[in-house]
Subunit: 500 residues, 2 copies
Amino acid sequence: MTTSYEALKAHLATIGDLQSALALLSWDQETQLPPGAAESRARQMSTLSRLQHEIFTGDETALLLEKAAHDLNGADYASDEASLIRVVQQDYELATKIPAAHVAEMTHQESLAHHVWAEARANNDFKKFLPALERIMELKRQEADYLGYVETPYDALLNQYERGMTTAQVKAIFDAHRPALVELIAAINAAPQVDDAVLHRNFDIGKQRDFGLKMIEAYGFDFKRGVQAISVHPFCTSFSINDVRITTRFEDSFLNPALFGMMHEAGHGMYEQGVAQNLEGSPLASGTSLGVHESQSRMWENIVGRSREFWVWALPQLREVFPQQLEGVSLDDFYKAINTVKRSFIRVEADEATYNLHIILRFEIEQELLNGTLKPADLPEVWNSKFTEFFGITPPTDTLGVLQDVHWSAGLVGYFATYALGNLLSVQYYEQALKAHPNLPNEISQGKFDTLRQWLNENIHQHGRKFTAAELTQRVTGGAIDPTPYMRYLKTKFSAVYGL
Amino acid sequence: MTTSYEALKAHLATIGDLQSALALLSWDQETQLPPGAAESRARQMSTLSRLQHEIFTGDETALLLEKAAHDLNGADYASDEASLIRVVQQDYELATKIPAAHVAEMTHQESLAHHVWAEARANNDFKKFLPALERIMELKRQEADYLGYVETPYDALLNQYERGMTTAQVKAIFDAHRPALVELIAAINAAPQVDDAVLHRNFDIGKQRDFGLKMIEAYGFDFKRGVQAISVHPFCTSFSINDVRITTRFEDSFLNPALFGMMHEAGHGMYEQGVAQNLEGSPLASGTSLGVHESQSRMWENIVGRSREFWVWALPQLREVFPQQLEGVSLDDFYKAINTVKRSFIRVEADEATYNLHIILRFEIEQELLNGTLKPADLPEVWNSKFTEFFGITPPTDTLGVLQDVHWSAGLVGYFATYALGNLLSVQYYEQALKAHPNLPNEISQGKFDTLRQWLNENIHQHGRKFTAAELTQRVTGGAIDPTPYMRYLKTKFSAVYGL
């Protein structure tokens, strides 16, 4: 006899399978689609997206949820059963609050805005993008009203990416480390710059790829349950916890994009691969939030991948692959080169020290846009003056300023904060791992990553979406998201690199 | 205002998009799936297949079809509108005649049978496969009853792959050329064998791939609307007429599988790419039958790709790629090598001359199995005695005999005939193209394939599924499917190669 819980799971598996097919259509679009197929692929994705939304928001989901919740009333909060019901109830509420007509209008406007934005950015023409941006902000405000909120409309949008977090909480976290960030960057800027020319030599792409694959295989990315491919914008996706895909962008005269990009995406990938097998095929079988996801990618990219210990082990191997390019380059030279801090206009090129400042700027601006206290027309001026205040330099063009990110044109408002939260969490989690296993740095310098990966698996990965970022952080650290460890980490690291 | 026809098309587009996603899941499974994902992928494919079947066989399809048929009553038979309604009415009838429970049971038995068959073939153990085969034949007989037929149950199964053709028609076609085939093969076998050692030298796979891609690009396979990848079993699939994918199997010590395999799959691919753009996204946007599809792949593989004219143009290029391997090999040597006729036990390794005989054997056996005049337990004996009668050699094992094909374990009964029909049609169609353009051989010897491809496009490809194989053949040749041209072609070609 099928229990109500099994019936719910079967229903959700159908929706999940549609979601996986949709993710495959998207992966294939970014990695293999022939140019002539763009239109048919867009239609296929839109159809599957619509079907999935229709089935999920239908009455059957509500009925099955209600029955299962009734039958399993009293189940342990952390059990698979209670967690599934709780998380899907929230998913269902969010999905059903926004009318289908609004979703369709949003999709339509985003599709228009994307082309306009790309053209505006290419031509440094903010005015061209302005009407589309105004329309999108109107729609996002309306979306916030549909979703509902207690304090501020921005809460409703933030909650879509980082469930349960409020604007006030994020603001407190950001305010608590912004001044220290500004101060650190100014100090670094006043010190003599390190030399990173070694990273800009000529590196054969095939060899870069082989080396990168070797590194992330050592990390523990499981190629029996994973694939790596090439795309213009690197990303990680999954069609099940046993089929996790990452992509890489290669440059033949810059080592960083592929090397640290692969470590970053492998960090995301190992999180997905690490979800407990008994959650496979259910909506819990994924990372819990964008912030926690980013904590994993940043940990493997930066805390491990940009550590001196890591390169004690890896540099001799890289030297075998690129003997000429690395001739005469010492461990110290290389370590400093990969930890260069540069004030740059572009977020995606930012280093560990400057990254969060780029985010805080966007977080503040987004709220004002949504509240209406900042008119989109005034954006370039406000962006540039805030940027100057934060970084001490002024974007010479809007292309290098307010037009740089794809997010707003794609309707992603409230999303940026999660990148910064990920940075903070990466150090908070790593410090806990280090407390449990003080020998970690020594292991890393020997190319041993099992202890760290298994600790992450046990404490974070296996739970999938059972707990929110706050709940998970409480379980792991005994406290809340806190910027102190991250600032301590940055100051220690960069004081040494820059001799502050 | 939406017309009833537009409503029907929109409904069918949803089903088509699900079908395309399903085809992508399958393509990815064969070309890229990590080994650990087999189970989740099977679940995803089964879900999409179920959804697609549910939506297509639902009442909405019947209602929309009825309305559109009523509104467009009297439309020209060959019009897009009348063709769509006619073909989909037939699809709907076939899809709704078989109860869902039977489909599920069939899927279940096939999944079990596949493993059993693979093991039985590996161990030359027919008895191991027998119970599964018996069960599948029972189910296929039942399926024929559900589908209905006038003369013989085999008609119902054949109709699924070659719509409108009857067993009696195929039998007449096969009977009309079987004796001549047996005679030709015996004559070839009595003549001195040609030397094909040149094809079995060492050929770098990367270079094979580049050369093959160059050949099929010259044929006219459109890489702006197509992709080539590697898989264990070569195939062609499409997710729209603007996204057609082919796969290749490479051997480093045998030139044929990749070289002629790519030509073969490109022939299928150009058929799909050649369907008229105004049919894109509709159920008519594909090849009309397996037989006609095979006529295209065989034409480009054999009539063009194994012609002396083709190698006048291509051999100098292949010699540049593999100078050592082809040292001292003349055009005549090479032409004979690629046209070697060998009596072999295995169908998929068969040449142009012996191929249809392998098929006729299966066609005769399948009918007896389905009619019950042959018990599955007696298969090995009957197979071997028939094989000896046809080829003059006896399979030493069941692995090289009755166990060689995957088809029966996959429930594909009535399918084999289409391979042979494709061979016959390839020559019938090519003769018509040659009548219209007598200069074709000369063009081929200069590496010009546009005239042939455009003729095929105009006369065959563009129509998609509008006409059945019989209708199309009547339009193109003015007559019915006829083995005479094929036998004439074989005799002329192989009399020259073997000096008969």
